[in-house]
Amino acid sequence: MSKASTNGAARFVRGALHCARFDLAESLRSRRVLIFLVLYLALSVGSAILFTELLQAVEEELALQLLVARTDLPGSMTQAVVERPEVRRVLYRFIRDNALVDAVLSVPPIALLFGWVTLTFTPLLVVLTSSDAISEEVAAGTARFALFRVSRGSYVFGKLIAQTALMCVGLLLAALGAYIVGAVQLGSFEPVRSALYIGRYALTSSVYAFSFLGLTLGISQLTRSVPWSRALGLFAMVTVIGLERFLVKGKLPQRFPVTSETLCQVLPPAHKLDLWRVTLSEMAPALVMLVALGLTFFAIGASRFVRRDL
């Protein structure tokens, strides 16, 4: 690589990091980020509390059926619950993979819930909080103060770094909330295993949500209208999820299995199930694909952004 291109790359990264740091700091100084973090925490803690209540109700019912004494702390009979054939059958209907069912059933219940909640809802939170990250600054003209100093590519890449960091902070907070609720509410809480699994799902959820973040920020670069970028972000998310369902469950996969399978590969939800696998080597293809998809969606938006009038 020539010296000029090395300098160019270094300048690009330096500019992106300055933009990211400032964007992150600006977000932390605003009230908006508090709302954003509260959303993550509320989702995690709220669902954990609901889950423990539901678990208690299920256990009470099970205690009645098994004619054993009921307990005050939910989770004391978790193992008995998950070993029920009904539970396995229900899970199999969704997953259709016995190894994966075993993997899922071996996870501490609070971590299982955390993983499911974050994988399901983090994309929505990402769309709600990041869809105007670029369009808003372009609309207000704020971006122009930076854009005559750094390249547009550097600027939007900085935005991607900042929004990814914010998402990770949100997920970390959510993980902490779920862990605390589990520790307080569950009878059979395993501190170390739960921490490890919750941490792992925070990581996999962040990778999954990153693909949606790339999509959202890609769209945010296409318009200078804040309402439009929000609407398009939501529309894109719903479309991606709906299309994946259609390609998996509709009539298309029966008639054109290869086409459906291929198309599915460019849709993040198609890789979601693999994030529940046990070993990293099993998960790795999905993780790599999700990061690649996020970067590709983002790059498509950026390729337009660097050329368009601001």
Partner: protein, 302 residues
């Protein structure tokens, strides 16, 4: 080395059916403060946007500091801009914001701190350094925006309405800042306030409907070396005017109680003054050249 800091040659830009720039051609010389004057919709802001790469021209040539069209990777630390109606990041304070832009301009952390302190002082914002942007008044925000345009030692500074929203005292200090840039940076100032231009600019560019209607040194445009304007206390009689004409002093009535005449070789301003005073006319004011407003209006009519 090029003496031209910014050059537009036959630049065109359309927004739908609107021809915002219709063959815009001009030059801003290095170290010279140039005023860009025109009515609303004349293409001033589009000119700035094209010059800084925010908007891509449809046709024509734009050359910034002799290094081609604007590219932040090439021009980032030597060109700065005060865009019009652009909001600064609201949650940072003045010091943090200037520090951030200084770092983006390639300064080290220490250099950025030093530069921030200098610019806060220059724009009288030192006392509000810790205030968030959204807590500042409109005028203070404008000064902060001007401050960010002065970071480092830019060779070309583009200022879109720099005195808009400033009180008279701050307008005066802004004019001082502009004058202090003479000889150091090329400055292109877009403004509606002609007194700003008369007070600070060396050159002017009049624009209308996306093209230049007239440009040149301020003294040439206002005919400062050739035109004498006399304000009198009462209208001058035809007889006095005829006597002056006989002495080769052709006075033209330009407005109520105002007469002007163009100097010919060997004449100076005192000739007309002597002629009028000798005829008993009370002259209350003698100015060289015509007001910039008159020159501007003439250019718009041509």
């Amino acid at each position: 080395m090029s003496t031209s800091a910014l050059r537009f040659y036959d630049v065109h830009k359309r927004y739908g059916k609107t021809h915002a720039l219709a063959g815009m051609s001009f030059e801003v010389k290095a170290g010279v403060v140039t005023g860009l004057i025109g009515p609303n919709g004349a293409g001033k802001t589009t000119t700035f946007s094209v010059a800084t790469g925010a908007v891509q021209e449809d046709a024509g040539v734009v050359d910034v500091l002799g290094k081609g069209a604007f590219d932040p990777r090439v021009h980032g630390s030597v060109v700065s801009v005060l865009p019009q109606d652009c909001a600064l990041s609201p949650y940072s304070n003045a010091k943090q914001l200037l520090g951030h832009y200084a770092r983006l301009s390639g300064m080290t952390k220490r250099e950025a701190q030093k530069e921030t302190a200098r610019l806060l002082e220059l724009t009288s914002l030192t006392e509000r350094a810790g205030s968030r942007v959204r807590e500042l008044s409109h005028g203070m925000r404008r000064r902060l925006a001007v401050a960010q345009a002065l970071i480092g030692t830019p060779k070309l500074i583009l200022l879109d309405e720099p005195t808009g929203g400033l009180d008279p005292k701050l307008v005066a200090s802004m004019r001082d800042i502009l004058r202090s840039l003479r000889g150091k940076s090329a400055v292109l100032v877009s403004t509606h306030i002609l007194s700003d231009v008369e007070d600070t600019c060396d050159e002017v560019i009049f624009v209308d409907r996306g093209r230049v209607t007239r440009s040149g040194a301020l003294d040439d445009v206002t005919q400062r070396a050739r035109l004498v304007t006399l304000r009198v206390s009462e209208e001058v009689s035809e007889e006095v005017l005829a006597r002056a004409r006989a002495k080769n002093i052709s006075l033209t009535r330009t407005a109520s109680l105002a007469y002007s005449y163009s100097l010919t070789e060997g004449q100076d301003a005192s000739d007309a003054l002597t002629a009028l005073l000798g005829a008993g006319v009370r002259v209350v004011e003698v100015t060289m050249g015509e007001p910039l407003m008159d020159a501007y209006l003439k250019a718009q009519q041509e």
